[in-house]
Symmetry: C2
Subunit: 565 residues, 2 copies
């Protein structure tokens, strides 16, 4: 198959959003409220036609409320707490103004966006504090514990599971703790591949600092431009290269967790047998046990070569079997992204340019019009990449995969952070747009895939209207893989929240029953709390409560997430 | 350098022992007390001369007390508990006879062996129970919690850190829970590389069961012939191939932990972001939180090829630098074992046959008589092994390493479980023989190495007598590596316990101060408890106490290990 020019392959996931008006810009929380960048990627005509036909949807205009009209209640932060915080952090690092509060209101889930679009900022904190050190953070937590003020850590504001909801059963005043001032590399140990860094640092700045020393980190979730390293730790994030470089939790050699009961210094690189793993308790704790104030991360030499390319499998089953076999023999590429037939079709329609037309034609000619596209990427030392790729290609061909060229892979790489910017246009035009994800063993994966799709179709379908469900595998392991589902549907403008809550509930029940995990990389947040007990059992929840009780006896640490009521 | 014939390269570590008279033989707890196999490896004359010269030691005869003369107090198990256990498990699975109790008395540390050699079995349990299922184990724990009976899980009895000490501050009766009846593979999921297995299964039987299906596990600590899978989980074991296949804790996809408060089912393969990692709390819990009753382990295809070989570095610093560079670029072989000059010299002296003489001569001729031997091993698919080895060899040569042939590697592989059998002969002849281990970042490793050696020399040295300290790196990571030190010294026959306790204390303080971890793969046990707070901090210990309080409120679960008094 020929190499293709001018092709744009991308997904539709969330993570960023234009309604991110209310996102703090790094290091400048005092700046103007601005729209985050909007590259104005209009949908190609073919994609619009495809969506209208598939969904039974008529484009309509449902714009969000203007920023100036968002409703915000007055701050309830007690004056004595305000004064004590000012004494601790300095006046400029304690904010109660409208702008500061709106910028830290909620995250980027569909539910968050719906609320915000309607002008509801009831999830905004009463105040914002910006500590500059572990000691200041610990003192702040002790102060808030004493006065009964809820504390919600704020990194990039990109949670898609209600991680910033600030929900508190006792409705106490809440403080967003923005970590933007703790955002630099504080030490680099090249020989040990370890770098110490503040939790407020973002991916692009981190990679830039490392690149100057010939190093790289390689954690690239779709929220990469905004999300922070502390947030990755708190949510057990996975990135687009995690199959190769490891999940974020695997890259944390140590961290500092400030809690209302004191400071924990966790992790003994390279490894330890000194009892249970407390570092693993802090990872994924979502601010409910305390605030991550420093991270010690494993880095690696900057890759000397990269190779990204596209492959086409005849069927989803063939694709899964091929990946499974690669995984079993430890031959998975660093990046693997296998789209199901629906996502493949949608991505090809969404792709612009003559190249996309050529590719569509070539796939049709080979009887692969309904096949599954795989983006595979290798990075590292040239001779190692060559050997690994050669071994993987043998397996891919044995499973009937055909190469569709490097242009497809490079195009995906070039546009991999762009897709979420589409989301606001789709919301404006009357669509429901959300994603969900899970992971399962290779054996359970096909059943989980079927169960989730059936549940979503049944919940969201109505006569003449069907959701579009686009699924991909993007993280492979020896024992299984992730599934990521993007859902588009005609929005129920009367009851939009209920429409999604019903679909989400159905999908979650279905994936758990089929053997999937509650979440592979989005975390529990507020949205998944009702099912945590299904994941770890009632006694597991009790163990987490015991840990929280010891570290946060007043329950001020992000009480709206993780643990069920 | 020519390939060498007839060469035996081995270490001196513990793990098994002839004074393991008192080791339960698998599946036959009712059998006769037997000596475990003793391959009768006498020390070559050169090695004896070397030891006498280095240590200032004169071989003498200090035989252990005969098994029949070991002192054992009457069982204190309350009659009502005995009756209830019989009702639960059946008469044949509740034992209070001398043989059953002696077989589960203590582990294989130098301190354990000294006590046992003197005829002291005060660490023997009052009774032994053999549950056959998770439900029976959970019921047993609830029963013991109700009646205040301490429970110590028993797998292979190979702890070298006092993990089976049974110490209880309240001196309650104690029950050894032998897991030998839960020792089979219960399910195999080849596609997902997952196998479910009972905790009492031993390595050889597990590999045999897997081999029949073309699978392998590859966890090979020196205690492999006796230790159990449940014990590996409880202690965060590492094996000789862990650099390649991963530490045991990395191979556990899930487990069942029976506790006095109920049963935990932990782990969501392949990965999950559903909150803190509870599986990581159960791993390394050493029986102090409950008993592992089932494991779900990640297996792999049986390797199609193996290549083991020896390399010689001019200096320890060169060797460490070479391994560090390999680690940084993810090029470490699956097995790496780099001996320091003292261990290299001792191993070559200890090696028998003409091959050893030839090798010694060849190294001398190349000016490498005082160099460091590296055993490197690769396993897997032939073309992948070839490519990985080729890349590694380039790095090794850049660091001045010279190849000393496959015979050295194969000899090490052939004899790798033999060394501990030497230990009893050395003890009989009046020696102190013990090991200790740690890990540190590549940057801290040289300082940790120096600090431990200085502390041991200073503690154990006397005029005319010096300990022999043989050190190797055997587990490499991107961020650092392990250090394993074998200590031989002339035993102080008047105060042998105090002699070692002083040396151990000095070495532990030194390695912690220099940045090493308390233990890389032997666990905390009774011996390392005083330093756990140094490893995880006072608040870290409090978190572990909170978890234990929730799961084991009566504190019956192995109270003598892990947590300090």
């Amino acid at each position: 198959m020929p190499e293709q020019p001018e092709l744009t392959v991308q997904g539709w996931g969330p993570g960023t959003s234009r309604v991110a008006t209310v996102t703090a810009s790094e290091g400048a929380p005092e700046g103007q409220l601005e729209l985050t960048r909007d590259p104005e990627l209009p949908l190609p005509k073919a994609a619009r036609r495809h969506l209208a036909r598939e969904l039974g949807w008529q484009p309509r205009s449902t714009p969000p409320v203007a920023v100036g009209e968002i409703r915000l209640a007055p701050s309830r932060l007690p004056a004595e707490v305000h004064e004590a915080l000012v004494a601790l952090l300095g006046e400029e690092h304690v904010r109660t103004d409208r702008e500061a509060r709106l910028r830290r209101a909620g995250g980027k889930s569909y539910l968050d966006l719906l609320r915000r679009r309607e002008g509801d900022a009831s999830d905004a904190p009463d105040a914002v504090a910006l500590p500059g050190s572990t000691a200041e953070t610990a003192a702040l937590l002790a102060l808030c514990a004493e006065h009964g003020v809820v504390v919600v850590p704020f990194g990039g504001g990109t949670s898609v599971v209600g991680g910033l909801s600030g929900i508190d059963p006792d409705d106490r005043p809440s403080l967003a703790v923005d970590l933007a001032r703790m955002a630099s590399v504080t030490s680099v140990d090249v020989a040990s591949s370890l770098v110490t860094v503040g939790p407020g640092m973002r991916g692009p700045a981190f990679e830039e600092a490392l690149g100057a020393r010939g190093l790289a980190f390689g954690h690239l979730p779709q929220s990469w431009e905004y999300a922070t390293l502390g947030g990755y730790a708190a949510t057990r994030s996975a990135g687009q290269s995690s199959t190769g470089v490891g999940r974020f939790d695997e890259l944390v050699a140590g961290l500092t967790l400030a809690t209302p009961s004191g400071v924990l210094e966790l992790g003994s690189p390279p490894a330890s047998a000194a009892g249970p793993d407390l570092l693993g308790l802090a990872l994924g704790s979502e601010g409910a046990l305390g605030i991550v104030t420093e991270l010690r991360l494993r880095v690696r030499p900057a890759p000397r070569t990269r190779r990204y390319e596209g492959w086409s499998f005849r069927t989803w089953a063939d694709g899964l079997a091929g990946l499974q076999r690669l995984a079993r023999h430890d031959l998975l590429p660093d990046v693997v992204r296998l789209s199901d037939p629906e996502e493949t079709r949608a991505n090809l329609l969404n792709a612009g340019g003559a190249g996309a037309r050529l590719l569509r034609g070539a796939l049709r000619a080979r009887g692969r019009a309904d096949g599954c596209l795989l983006v595979a990427g290798w990075e590292g030392l040239p001779h190692v990449v060559r050997a690994r790729r050669r071994a993987a290609v043998t397996v891919l061909r044995e499973h009937g995969a055909a190469r569709v060229g490097r242009r497809v892979g490079e195009s995906w790489r070039a546009h991999r952070f762009a897709a979420p910017y589409l989301r606001d246009s789709l919301l404006d035009a009357g669509l429901l747009v959300e994603t969900l994800e899970t992971a399962a063993t290779w054996t359970a994966l096909p059943a989980v895939y079927d169960a989730v799709r059936t549940a979503l179709r049944s919940s969201l379908g109505r006569p003449g209207r069907q959701p579009l469900l686009m699924t991909h595998v993007s993280h492979g392991y020896a024992t299984g893989a992730s599934l990521y589902v993007t859902v588009l549907a005609d929005r129920d403008d009367a009851l939009p929240l209920q429409q999604w809550l019903g679909a989400k509930r159905a999908a979650t029940e279905a994936l758990l029953a089929a053997g999937g995990t509650l979440t592979h990389h989005h975390a529990v947040g507020a949205d998944h709390r009702p099912w945590l007990e299904r994941e770890v059992g009632p006694l597991g929840v009790e163990v987490l409560r015991a840990v929280k009780q010891r570290l946060d006896p007043q329950g001020i640490c992000n009480p709206g997430v993780l643990l069920p009521d």
